[in-house]
Symmetry: C2
Subunit: 205 residues, 2 copies
DNA sequence: AAATGGTTTAACTAACTGGTCAAAGTTATA
DNA sequence: TATAACTTTGACCAGTTAGTTAAACCATTT
């Protein structure tokens, strides 16, 4: 019983990992069940044994992947460190997450454009609340620490500068760095400071 | 002869318009030749008569669409208006372009991630030169008008804040504006000023 | 060791999709 | 008007793809 469970789990995980790769790289329409099976080193019929359909498998992947796309922010923002430290920590952390999941941004943006209805479930299931985010800045504005501006715009500005450079990686790589991966990676690393400074410069009083 | 040419052109344009819609909304893998034919109100075989294959048709679309993605910037930046006016004009203009082509950003980012080799042709054909862009800012830095920072990062920051909010439209709409299209559109309109101010605040001395 | 129940596979099916083709339609030219 | 050249169409084909099925496999229980 124990052993069966373990094997089952292991196969399921192999499938999920293979499917994640395939879907992230190719998108739902470009992904192939056969390819997922090959990547997982199993028979294609097993995919349907564990997950009824391609759609089902995709939903399972999408949920887990979607969580990574939204910064895990609550704990950080509730901790006792200063506002500036929170901001710095967030940017650092988020650029790292995206840098380690280079396909994530373009994947999410494309799939959600294709099926916006997927958002509804994902948001509920994963309980990301933009308010936590917004309130961090509103508080500092109210306290007169930073300049007043619509918090929604400020948040979108910050997220833009973290996410877009990863979503557009091949373009930036190609047009600015002559397709040199290392140069691009250095660029991303630099952005941790650059984005932080850029934001601070803009909102400091 | 004249009439044939006109009809031919008209059919070709109908195809290109239909294909543009289909490809932008669904991506290459999600697009269907049959659907393109229906959208154009013609027989599917005609698609192959005018453009040999789906691949070919896609390339034709991609080239023309890709041009829109890169700001037409040379004329503006070479004109005699001030630096600040150039910046303001650019942001205004670019957000307008993207706002009128809501599928454009996510489409480009996804397709280029899928086939980065497409970039090579597109860049050549369309001759967008990031240097023009970079130099605008470098000059002002050298002249001591704005703070010194790596111009590449500054450009990426500005582009990020223009492009991402459109690429992520369904997410922003869903999470901040309860799927209210008008609220979101207002938000985008506001960003013309917001982004401009945000950049200026950050780089002014 | 035989029966049980979950797991894995090879072979297959039905639907879809890009692409072809021969015939019909249409327009310009001789 | 007849012919030639281009345009458009319906019917068809071959390859691909998600999904099914029945049989084989394997570990545990009796």
């Amino acid at each position: 019983m124990v052993k069966i469970k373990e094997i089952e789990k292991s196969t399921e995980i192999k499938i999920l990992e293979a499917a994640k790769q395939e879907f992230l790289e190719r998108g739902f329409d470009g992904a192939r069940m056969q390819k997922i099976a090959e990547r997982a080193g199993i028979n294609k019929a097993l995919l349907h044994y564990y997950f009824r359909s391609k759609e089902n498998l995709f939903k399972a992947i999408f949920q887990s992947v979607f969580e990574n796309f939204f910064p895990k922010v609550v704990k950080t923002f509730q901790s006792e460190i200063s506002f500036l430290e929170k901001l710095r920590f967030f940017i650092d952390n988020y650029i790292d997450v995206l840098s380690n999941n280079p396909f994530l941004p373009a994947f999410i943006l494309h799939e959600i454009q294709l099926r916006p209805e997927m958002l509804i479930n994902s948001i509920k299931e994963q309980g990301f609340n933009p308010t936590v985010f917004l309130n961090l800045f509103k508080k500092e504005m109210d306290n007169g620490v930073i300049c007043t501006m619509p918090a929604e715009h400020l948040v979108v500005n910050i997220l833009s500068m973290c996410i877009f450079p990863v979503a557009a990686a091949p373009i930036i790589k190609g047009m600015i760095f002559k397709n040199d991966d290392k140069e691009y990676q250095k660029f991303l690393e630099e952005r941790k400071n650059i984005v932080y400074q850029f934001v601070i410069n803009s909102i400091k009083k």
